[in-house]
């Protein structure tokens, strides 16, 4: 019972981070700040969702697989953010200044 409540709380918190990231994607002024918002949402949001799901897992193997998914998404997100921002810099996309 307690694990179910914890799962729901953690998943909802993760979804809140995803919502924040999506809001950042829609509202931030340029590519770099949007990437910043997206990667933060991916890392922490997915981490919370994975933590919530890990409580429901039947075995440690499944927890390990969930952690692996989280690590891979973080790796992919970070690498792709680097590549996109490098390409945006090369193309000379305007950087937002206050």
């Amino acid at each position: 019972m307690l694990t179910d409540v914890l799962t729901v709380v953690l998943s909802l918190a993760g979804c809140a981070f995803f919502l924040a990231g999506t809001l950042g994607l829609l509202r931030f002024p340029d590519v770099f700040t949007r990437l910043h918002a997206l990667t933060k949402a991916d890392n922490l949001g997915l981490g919370l969702v994975v933590a919530g799901l890990a409580l429901q897992a039947d075995s440690w193997a499944i927890v390990g697989k969930l952690l692996l998914i989280w690590l891979l998404v973080m790796l992919a997100g970070a690498s792709v953010a680097n590549l996109v921002s490098r390409r945006a810099l090369d193309k000379g996309l305007p950087v937002w200044k206050r």
């Binding site: 690498s79 680097n82 590549l83």
Partner: protein, 314 residues
């Protein structure tokens, strides 16, 4: 799935609406890049829908092939379209009469299909129950794998042939495009080096686990194909490897294994692709292994988009 209740029903409604909205946006967008990105998101939502429909095998295949590899193919083709080719203005130039007629025809077809969905009554129980009953005899524990590799192995043989034919079609259209290697990018290179062993491991795991859990040859092959695409994107010099005889042997290995198995069973048992019950599990695994290698190589070669050129030909 029982009758829709509460939150899960609401989730299904949102997911279906999201699918339709994404498809509409992807097809109606004036910017081609945006259309392709929306299509990739549509593919990922489709994977969610498959999971909701109780089809994890399809979800794996859709996420890897339908969203991932198709998206990569589309983006690569978009990048190769010459800059001065007009991107099309989303059908605004089509005559109004044609659009009205098309709309009427589509609405007629869609209404007919929707009526069919609601009123189709199964006349007799389908072969689904027979699959469950004969699952023990098929040699594997996953009913989808049993259908793909044992009960309907003939369909899979033809599918391997279709893959090979598509590749031959692509090869017959010309040489691979110029690879724009914009210098060794350390991040992409490091990512490729880090992910390649992991991708091979995951493919092997999916191949092995497909016998008794969601997975199988197509999902494993698509992971290998994704590894090949990643290496090509990271600028690895794969030309010597991809134009070699080894590559062609691997490409043909899948269909050849199926054909060999078909001929063998036809000669020994007198019936096409009927496995002896005792060796069915092992034979299925051998077929799946050959199919995995072949599918991975074919998908990577399809992404290359032309005949691979050897180093000394360039």
């Amino acid at each position: 799935m029982e009758t829709m209740t509460g939150l899960t029903g609401l989730f299904d409604v949102f997911l279906s609406a999201g699918l339709l909205w994404l498809a509409w946006q992807a097809l109606a967008s004036t910017d081609l890049f945006r259309a392709i990105v929306l299509f990739i998101s549509f593919g990922l939502l489709m994977a969610l829908a498959w999971a909701r429909l109780g089809a994890p095998d399809i979800a794996l295949a859709e996420a890897a092939i339908g969203a991932g590899l198709t998206g990569a193919l589309l983006l690569s083709a978009l990048a190769r379209l010459p800059r001065d080719v007009p991107a099309g203005d989303a059908g605004c130039r089509t005559a109004f009469v044609v659009r009205v007629l098309a709309w009427l025809a589509t609405m007629g077809l869609a209404s007919t299909l929707a009526w069919v969905v609601f009123h189709l009554q199964p006349v007799a129980p389908g072969p689904g129950n027979a699959v469950i009953e004969q699952l023990e005899a098929s040699g594997v524990g996953n009913p989808v794998t049993a259908v793909l590799l044992n009960f309907r192995g003939y369909d899979t043989l033809l599918e391997m042939a279709v893959l090979l034919l598509a590749l031959l079609g692509v090869w017959s259209l010309g040489v691979e495009a110029e690879q724009q290697v914009t210098g060794a990018d350390p991040v992409l290179d490091g990512l490729a080096r880090l992910l390649l062993p992991l991708l091979i491991l995951v493919a092997a795991y999916l191949l092995w686990v497909g016998a008794h859990a969601p997975g199988g040859a197509f999902q494993a092959g698509s992971v290998l194909g994704a590894a090949g695409v990643l290496l090509l994107l990271a600028g690895w010099r794969l030309r010597a490897a991809m134009s070699s005889a080894w590559m062609r042997a691997v490409l043909v290995a899948g269909p050849a294994a199926f054909v060999a198995m078909a001929v063998t069973t036809l000669l020994i048992e007198g019936r096409l692709l009927e496995f002896p019950q005792a060796q069915a599990g092992m034979l299925i695994f051998v077929l799946e292994a050959c199919a995995t290698l072949s599918i991975g190589a074919t998908l990577a070669a399809l992404y290359l988009g032309g005949i691979p050129q050897a180093e000394d030909d360039a």
